[in-house]
Amino acid sequence: MWDNFWSRSWTVLTENSSFLWDALQNTLIITFAGFALGLVIGTILAIINANPSKGIFSRIAKGFAWTYILILRGTPIVVQMLILFFVFLGPQGVEALNVAILAFGLNSGARSAEILRGAIGSIDKGQLEAGRALGFSNFRTMQKVVLPQAYKNAIPALGNEIIALLLATSVVGFITVIDITRGMQLIVARTFDVLVPYMLLAFIYLVLVYILTLVLKFFEKVVFKHGK
């Protein structure tokens, strides 16, 4: 079974290079676009949750945010994706790749919201008061003072989120997207060789995560170099 493992690996890679390259791109697109969308959603939810106002709009918005986070964190991403694709968007003709991005964005948004909520909570209350004392609205204070500091504090956790997201995208094959996992599955089906494609697949994820970790480390270093 392990005979000629390296040469067989090389053959699989070279013979399917353009196919695998497209699949890899899909994996990366869903990861990064999903993360970006999630960050936007997470920021909005975190701002809603951090608003000290007890007004009716604020309460309704908080109720919405709470429900959103409960549902999105309380059900598997695969199930969310299946429902989104097969029940809602697929029948409307929305492309599977876009549905995958949306599903992972919505899902990541709930986790990013929690990460940012924690980061905002760790900012000294005096910062908010100083902003308000200068005449900034609550929103302006968030935008100018609290969020920039919160994002910075949240960088390590958000980095973990990207990595978790990358690995989680391996299920998009369920809705017909050909990512790197689905791609290797198709090669297995074609060649009846189970070992090589799946080992390669694991190795590719490992390399991607390793590269991401290095990039994030570098990014943290640059960002945290200034001040404290």
């Binding site: 000294d124 005096g126 910062q127 008061e129 100083a130 902003g131 308000r132 004392a133 200068l134 005449g135 900034f136 609205s137 302006r140 100018k144 003072v145 920039p148 500091q149 910075k152 200034h226 001040g227 404290k228």
Partner: protein, 253 residues
Amino acid sequence: MENNVIEVKNLVKKFGKLTVLDDVCIDVKKGEVIAIIGSSGSGKSTLIRCMNGLETSTSGDVLFNGELLTKGNINKKRQKIGFVFQSFNLFPNMNVLKNVTVAPKTHGKFQFPFTQKWKKAKQELNEKALEMLEKFGLGDKAKENPNNLSGGQKQRVAIVRALMSDPEIMLFDEPTSALDPEMVKEVLDAIKSLADKGMTMVIVTHEMKFAKSVADKIIYIDKGKIIESGTPEQIFNNPQCERLKEFLSKILD
């Protein structure tokens, strides 16, 4: 009264069942410097924070230039009420120059970025800020991150930040309490220079000598009530009530 910058009328503040301020009345006249003294927990911070709406009163009013402070107008009014915190609260995500210009820049007339007008407005603001920083001995710190400054420098930056919006009154909550002893003087001198220019000010302080030299009026507050108020002369040389006498004897030696 037309001459009053801030009027505090029958202010009551409760935290739950605890009454922290009990029927407090204060008029701050234009150009007047008021020092608030009293022991720890007497409600001084709560009182001065009510003056710019950082705390909302349980009952009673705070008026700024004769107008009631309300939720609707507070952001506008605060631009003219400078507030300096005990713990500085500078923004570590901006350098010193950005710290002191962020408020006037945000509150100023909107200009489309990178237009001539935008550049001009920005330049004027930066020049004003640099001039002001220079005046407070911080000319070489403009590009510094606030985390890299000493406590005294931080507090002077905080004062400049408040001054950049051309406030009509400055409120200080124990501006020197978080400072190492050798840095107290530089901050007190900065505040004194404002008093000399006729700035209206309310200062919560434990620095009795400073209060004596800079204030026109001293208010002694205990357990949320104004117990005695008067000129520094009256308060320090001729205190009337026992509690004030006791407080002074404790704090003066």
